[in-house]
């Protein structure tokens, strides 16, 4: 027989769902103020949210535990016996190079992600809408503009001192044969997600507004209820996305160079 914890007595599933979402940052921005007000007015709700945070911190704290080397070796061996089937050649090699190049160009115009392994900037931005799974990266000692996390040598900025956006978590994904790391920043009841994708830059979104600052092009667009800005640093695609944050604010963050400490 199940025994409902006393702490949740009198709460509906919807109310509990709001508290879970508030704690892990997935509560829609439009509802955040209302839910936070209810939490602030209720010791019971405050206690639940606090304990949601304790659980999340404990679970994210396990992220340093990796698979044993023996297991990794076994899996690698097993993978070695089954490689992905080679892609069927799409066109006869005798086709003139010019025609192939023209076809590739046409494809790139229609499908920005087609020449980048199928991953698009919108796909990368979607990672930012997922919850963090790892603790926030720490700052770099002696370089307050940077966090310790990086992708292919491209470090994440530390917005805390300059802008008040504090690192709040991180996650790693492997979309379409790439590696992508996302760092989450919180400021009050708002959050932003900063994703850097490994490998060469993704195709630039066509339907986007373009702004160029100090030689770097920033493209902004809407993806559902999120504002997205994308640009390149060190040949890698960076994506900042958020709900309830203006494109101008996102571009200002994206363009911040921390007095030269943040490599572009």
């Amino acid at each position: 027989m199940t025994h409902e914890p006393e702490l949740t007595d009198g709460l509906t599933d919807e109310e509990l769902a709001d508290l879970a979402r508030l704690a892990d940052g997935t509560l829609p921005a439009a509802r955040r103020a209302e839910v936070e007000a209810r939490v602030a007015a209720s010791p019971q709700l405050s206690r639940i949210v606090e304990r949601q945070g304790i659980a999340l911190a404990a679970i994210h704290g396990t992220a340093d535990t990796g698979a044993p080397a023996r297991l990794r070796a076994q899996v690698d061996r097993r993978r070695g016996t089954r490689r992905a089937p080679e892609r069927r050649r799409r066109f006869d090699l005798r086709v003139p190079i010019a025609a192939a190049a023209a076809a590739a160009l046409a494809l790139a115009l229609v499908l920005p992600g087609a020449l980048t392994g199928g991953l698009s900037v919108a796909d990368a931005a979607a990672l930012g809408a997922k919850p963090p799974t790892q603790p926030a990266p720490a700052g770099v000692p002696g370089t307050p503009q940077l966090l310790g996390a990086k992708v292919d040598g491209v470090p994440f900025p530390n917005y805390a001192a300059k802008f008040g956006w504090k690192p709040a978590g991180a996650r790693s994904d492997s979309p379409s044969d790439r590696h992508a790391t996302t760092v989450y920043y919180r400021k009050g009841n708002r959050s932003i997600s900063y994703t850097i994708v490994s490998g060469h830059a993704l195709g630039r979104p066509a339907a986007a507004n373009s702004t160029t600052r100090a030689g770097v092009e920033f493209r902004t667009f809407r993806d559902g209820d999120r504002t997205v800005v994308t640009w390149e640093r060190g040949g890698h695609t960076c994506v900042l996305s958020a709900k309830g944050v203006s494109p101008a604010e996102l571009v200002a963050l994206a363009d911040w160079r921390g007095k030269g400490a943040i490599p572009f």
Partner: protein
């Protein structure tokens, strides 16, 4: 109806990328580092047995579904409950990262054992979202439940974990 146009072959080359998270998920399901190792190995063997087709970017969700099915199949076969906690004195570090930090290994064991002690519905949701990092929608799909049932269940699961950790 399955839309074949958005499916692709699961690439074995990328499966190793998910190994760490899947291992922690297996540990949280079984409550035992050793059982987790066996479970993940069996899961990868199943997946690699023949080409698999997944929706775009659903590799982790697919692996979790397979892990979960493998877990329940083996549990049914063994007709036993998962072991909840290992002896802290006999803790083995899971990776070189934790080998040099036994206190982290001990904490990991305590936390994942607390998760493993939850009732199945709460444990699965917590593993899918908080351990693996699936979105609510992905977790709902992986677990065969509506997305809307995920967060309230997750809230209860988190509260239970804290309760156990405080004992």
């Amino acid at each position: 109806m399955i839309d074949r146009t958005v499916q692709r072959t699961l690439d074995p080359e990328t499966l190793g990328d998910h190994l760490d998270r899947l291992f922690r998920a297996a540990w949280a399901l079984t409550g035992s580092r050793e059982d987790a190792e066996d479970l993940v190995q069996e899961t990868y063997e199943r997946v690699l047995r023949r080409p698999r087709f997944v929706r775009k970017d659903d590799d982790l969700g697919y692996l979790f579904r397979t892990l979960r099915n493998t877990y329940y199949n083996s549990r049914r076969t063994a007709s036993r409950r998962p072991r909840i906690a290992s002896d802290l004195d006999n803790l083995h570090a899971a990776s070189p990262r934790t080998e040099s930090q036994p206190e982290i290994a001990a904490e990991t064991n305590l936390v994942l054992a607390a998760v493993a002690g939850l009732q199945d519905p709460m444990r699965e949701v917590l593993v899918a979202v908080d351990v693996l990092g699936l979105s609510y929608a992905e977790a709902g799909k992986a677990l065969g439940v509506h997305e809307n049932t995920i967060p309230s269940r997750l809230a209860r699961a988190r509260l239970k974990v804290v309760e156990v950790l405080e004992r």
